[in-house]
Amino acid sequence: MSELQLKSQRFRTERERDWRQLEALVTKAEKRSASALSNAEILAMPVLYRSTLSALSVARETSLDQGLIGYLENLSARAYFFVYGARSTPLEQLNAFFSRDWPRGVQSIWRETLVALFVTALGAVVAYVLVGADSDWFFTFVDPGLAQGRDPTATQAALRATLYDGADADGLSFFATYLFTHNAEVALLAFALGFAFGVPTIVVLLSNGAMLGAMVHVFVSKGLGYEFGGWLLIHGVTELFAIVLAGAAGLRIGWAVAFPGRQSRLEAMSGAGKAAGAVMMGVVIMLMLAGVLEGFGRQLITSDTVRYAIAGGSAILWGLYFYAPRPDRVMARIGR
């Protein structure tokens, strides 16, 4: 009987056990997670994967059993994603993100950051001048729902009240959550719009700046400039910076789409996406912090000096965190 067995059949019988074992391991890892595997199983996986892969190349050359080749192809691909897609633990990933990927991403888009900052400032200045010339312009720039009565028709007393009305702490955490989710969606949208050659991102940044400029004029013209600065900047440093960074990340993508340079358009895009993605994850975190500062800090702290101190402190902290030179960068440069 055994001489009747084909070589390819014998090949299969001899190795089938290994394949089944690998299949069981991969299925287990896919069903739950990598951590469901024991140490011995994790060590066995690459060995089984390589033997299956070599069986596949042998089978392609010597076997005509389609079912077998299809199975091996499928199993090898599943195991490949697992063996080469093996990720570090979540803690290591978090560490790498905060110590390396995020600040490096922000540094790598410094040009776009300057452009985004300039565009925002431009919007602010233009709106400031226009509202100064004719206060009706205010309503073009600022959504009445957002202004909540803080418009040129308001009296000085009413405006002053809006800056310090944090006495009752009810509903603050809801407010903070609302601000965070709202701002995060806006930032994500500004980033995603960058894909359309960056033009809509510029529009979003301009209108954001214009809203700011118009608001500033309302308060400055009533002699409340200093007080408004504290009210705005306590969270605004973090929030505006985050929105500028989101815009910058969008512009980076848009630039890669429009002018890929020597690379292919797809390569340029995914290269830009790598840095911009890290920045955007950071932006969401910044907006979460800004939401807390806006919802709690601003409503509970009514002293201008403390407000300015928090604003200045956060500016210094972000600046140092993102742009201060790092030892590992120096090492990387020497390595190059």
């Binding site: 089944r20 990598a34 080469y84 809801f174 797809l266």
Partner: protein
């Protein structure tokens, strides 16, 4: 990776990944239809969860007579935010690299360069959903209302719709079926169905080998392609097909089956042909199909 020989459309979707060991693996890209199906399932799950959570929170609100309004508001807002963003992130970070919708459709996300799928890549490909999915959706809902309110609105609505469609329909216009998020993140979506190890059809042929003897000329009548078709026929085992195929082969190779049944004859023939062809393979001879005269 399907059992039957790939159709031209399937071959067009095949991509080759060369592993670090130097073995080329054939991967199949997901079709736009499969991806749309997966997305529709995911959206159904999300909307279903939204409805369920809202009802649950409303019950809590009624039970506490409005006392927990703030907490309920926070849970709802954060829940919506997480569902909209973290749903895709969390599932695509898992070992399967697929949302429940993709799992049902047998799809997975993978890095285009064959490397590992990073968290940044998954974040980026889902951040772009704002542009490709949520913006067009909100335009679809809010657009007509805005268009009715002002006289200029109609034109702007039309332009905005066209503009959005460019991004929505992007996967139709590139060979790799990439959506904008895939382009920026450097990912693509592959078919990853699970395949069972099936019976070797030659196993059933061995017992009948003794009752049959074929001449070399009879065994050389066909090529690899026909052998694969025969494998399919045996695997499916459909009675009428088996009979028709057996008759045709017997006629072509001029073979007297004597009292052997159709299936017995086919099994024996399959076993004998495969043995001969595989011997040829060892000598570097591979006959593609019955028209191949090169060997």
């Amino acid at each position: 990776m399907t059992m039957a020989a790939p159709t031209p459309a399937e071959r067009k979707r095949m991509r080759v990944l060369v592993t670090p060991e130097g073995v080329p693996l054939n991967l199949e890209l997901a079709t736009v239809g499969q991806r749309f199906g997966a997305l529709a399932l995911d959206l159904l799950i999300i909307v279903g969860t939204v409805v369920a959570v809202t009802i649950a929170l409303a019950i809590v609100f009624a039970q506490t007579r409005g006392g927990s309004a703030e907490i309920i508001g926070i849970v709802w807002l954060l829940g919506m935010f997480l569902l909209r963003n973290a749903y895709f992130l969390g599932f695509e970070m898992s070992a399967r690299a697929a949302t429940p919708g993709k799992r049902v459709m047998g799809l997975r996300v993978a890095a285009r360069n064959g490397g590992r799928l990073t968290f940044e890549a998954i974040f980026t490909r889902n951040a772009l959903r704002e542009l490709e999915l949520f913006l067009p959706l909100s335009l679809m809902i809010a657009g007509p209302i805005m268009a009715l309110q002002s006289d200029m609105g109609g034109w702007i609505y039309l332009l905005a719709t066209i503009w959005c469609l460019i991004f929505v329909l992007l996967p139709f216009f590139n060979a790799d079926k990439l959506r904008a998020g895939d382009m920026v993140a450097g990912t693509w979506v592959l078919r990853a169905p699970r395949q069972k190890l099936m019976r070797d059809m030659a196993d059933a042929g061995a017992p009948h080998q003794a009752d049959h003897s074929f001449t070399p000329a009879q065994l050389d009548a066909y090529g690899v392609k026909e052998l694969h078709v025969l494998e399919e026929v045996l695997r499916t085992g459909d009675r009428t097909t088996v009979r028709a195929v057996a008759d045709r082969i017997a006629r072509k190779i001029v073979y007297d089956r004597r009292d052997a049944t159709d299936i017995e004859f086919l099994r024996a023939y399959y076993h004998a042909v495969r043995g001969r062809m595989e011997q040829g393979l060892l000598m570097g001879r591979r006959r593609k199909d019955k028209f191949d005269r090169s060997v």
